[in-house]
């Protein structure tokens, strides 16, 4: 039980509210927190990316709406809400309608697995590390559905490409995950974070090779440039979402950015110490604070550190987008099967040896 839950339950019990009602209310609060976090993350990320790419090409970026263009993504969102929804004549109507939901819902679900601080974690699973990747294999089905049901050859090619990519990138990802499990001795994301309590204990130091493999494979999973084949604009119009308009398109768009954010937090949790402070102590510990206030401030600090690490990773992802052209599809498959899988096995081997010496010391 987290400290927030305890405070909430104690406060409501004073008013003689039924226990199951409190439980339901707490679930609703968790859901609202996750949704708000996701929406803010996405709105901010889209604007951030546009500004960031603008600075890379010596432009100003959006700056007319709101202060320094801070309301640009809000305007985009409202515009898309008011836009006409078109269903193509050749579309498989039911699947066409369901596909954006299949893409979007798992990504929202995954937000509950990540420990944002020692107490902000909606669902503490003992196999969180696996569950995260398992749930994230669902959106690929949605993308394939979208490609198939649009009745458009470019969409279909985009959907198939996304499938191929996912299959080839997930094997190295799971092999590196196995390395992490060996290092920390747990599949629970909370335990993994707790094992990396100080800067030198971060998993990135023994598993630097694994980190590089995982990062590049996550670019493939996220469909980010240089691996954005499912929506390669110069080849496939707009790929799997080329027949989608209005809110359905917005769901794909939102899903992509929400996935970028949550995957970066996932990488930060696995390799960069998660919510742990790099200095090994928190500001809250320095002062002699009362229990609850101290806990609250510590949680906020931990949240801050996780978001900071996430944004460092997102910065690198966007930097790569600004700098590199698109890969070839078959070259990417070769990269995954011939280079990353052997390297990932080698990484696993190295980590086994490291862990053996750590335990014997």
């Amino acid at each position: 039980m987290s400290i927030f839950n305890l405070i909430f339950v104690e406060y409501l019990l004073k008013f003689n509210i039924l226990e199951w009602l409190i439980f339901v209310l707490w679930q609703i609060i968790c859901f609202v927190f996750i949704s708000l976090l996701m929406i803010f993350a996405v709105l901010f990320l889209v604007l951030f990316e546009r500004k960031y790419l603008a600075f890379f090409t010596r432009r100003k970026g959006p700056n007319r709406v709101g202060l320094y263009g801070c309301l640009q993504t809000v305007a985009d969102g409202i515009k898309i809400l008011f836009k006409e929804n078109i269903t193509p004549k050749n579309a498989d109507k039911f699947i066409y309608f369901v596909a954006p939901i299949i893409v979007f819902a798992p990504i929202l679900t995954v937000y509950s697995l990540i420990p944002f601080s020692s107490d902000i974690n909606s669902y503490k699973s003992d196999i969180g590390i696996l569950l995260f990747m398992a749930i994230l294999s669902l959106p690929i089905t949605g993308i394939l559905f979208a490609g198939y049901s649009s009745g458009n050859k470019y969409s279909l090619i985009g959907g198939m490409r996304s499938c191929i990519q996912a299959i080839s990138s997930e094997i190295p990802i799971f092999l590196t995950l196995a390395g992490i499990v060996i290092l920390t001795g747990s599949m629970n994301l909370n335990e993994i974070v707790k094992a990396q309590y100080s800067f030198l204990q971060w998993n990135i130091f023994p598993a630097i090779l694994g980190f590089i493999i995982f990062f590049i494979c996550s670019l493939i999973t996220l469909n980010r440039i240089p691996f954005d084949f499912p929506e390669a604009e110069s080849e496939l119009v707009a790929g799997y979402n080329s027949e989608y308009s209005g809110m359905k398109f917005a769901m794909f768009f939102l899903g992509e950015y929400a996935l970028t954010f949550i995957f970066s937090t996932y990488i930060a949790t696995l390799f960069l110490g998660g919510y742990n402070s790099p200095f090994g102590f928190y500001m809250a510990d320095l002062f002699d604070l009362r229990l609850i206030t101290g806990e609250l401030i510590r949680n906020i600090e931990q949240f801050f550190w996780l978001i900071l690490k996430t944004f460092l990773l997102i910065l690198i992802i966007m930097w790569i987008r600004a700098a590199y052209p698109r890969f070839k599809t078959d070259k990417t498959l070769e990269l995954c099967w011939y280079i990353f899988i052997p390297l990932a096995i080698f990484n696993l081997f190295v980590l086994c040896i490291v862990q053996y010496f750590r335990e014997s010391l």
């Binding site: 007319r64 809000v74 515009k79 707009a238 989608y244």
Partner: protein, 184 residues
């Protein structure tokens, strides 16, 4: 009722005018100027329009950048019809406005894109400077800010009457060819 409608109008107009996503559509040299508009010196991103969408389903603004030939005319019509409402059109360059230097002088050029689809803003010059295109987009934004959701419906009906269907396009092509023959 009017108060609610006018606030919704204000919000939707604000949103629409500030995020005009153009379609990647360029048929000739005006396209180069359109590209430079999104590059560093002119930077259309300031007005929120740098998101060039390749699919017409996600675009709001059709910038007809270049000459429309008879062969291109059906495709232009199809692209326009594939775009979801609300959609706006800028005819960029003399060729798209009236046929330009090909007017009465060519068997293959449509004398003005407005013969095929309704145009909101005309932007003459051959080719227009990037500043001129930015000006056209600004003018379109101020036009969008004046409209309302109720009058938009009438506008759509009016626009639909202006659209040429395939048979009409064939007649149009014949007319243009006749004009060309008379010129000779």
């Amino acid at each position: 009722m009017n108060i609610i409608l006018s606030t919704i109008d204000a919000i939707s107009n604000w949103a629409r005018s500030n995020s005009l996503w153009p379609l990647t559509f360029a048929t000739s040299c005006c396209g180069i100027e359109m590209m430079s508009v999104s590059a560093s010196d002119y930077d259309i991103a300031r007005f929120g329009s740098e998101v060039f969408r390749a699919s017409p389903r996600q675009a709001d603004l059709l910038i007809i950048a270049g000459t429309i030939t008879h062969k291109m005319a059906p495709l232009l019509l199809k692209l326009y019809e594939q775009m979801p409402e609300p959609k706006y059109v800028i005819a960029m360059g003399a060729c798209a406005c009236s046929g330009g230097m090909f007017k009465n002088n060519s068997y293959s050029v449509v004398y003005g894109a407005d013969k095929i689809i309704p145009v909101d803003i005309y932007l003459p010059m051959c080719p227009p400077k990037p500043e001129a295109l930015i000006d056209a987009i600004r003018k379109l934004q101020s036009e969008i800010k004046k409209e309302s959701l109720t009058t938009r419906k009438e506008l759509i009906a009016k626009h639909k009457s202006k659209l040429k269907i395939q048979d009409d396009l064939d007649i149009l092509i014949q007319e243009d060819v006749n004009i060309f023959k008379m010129g000779i």
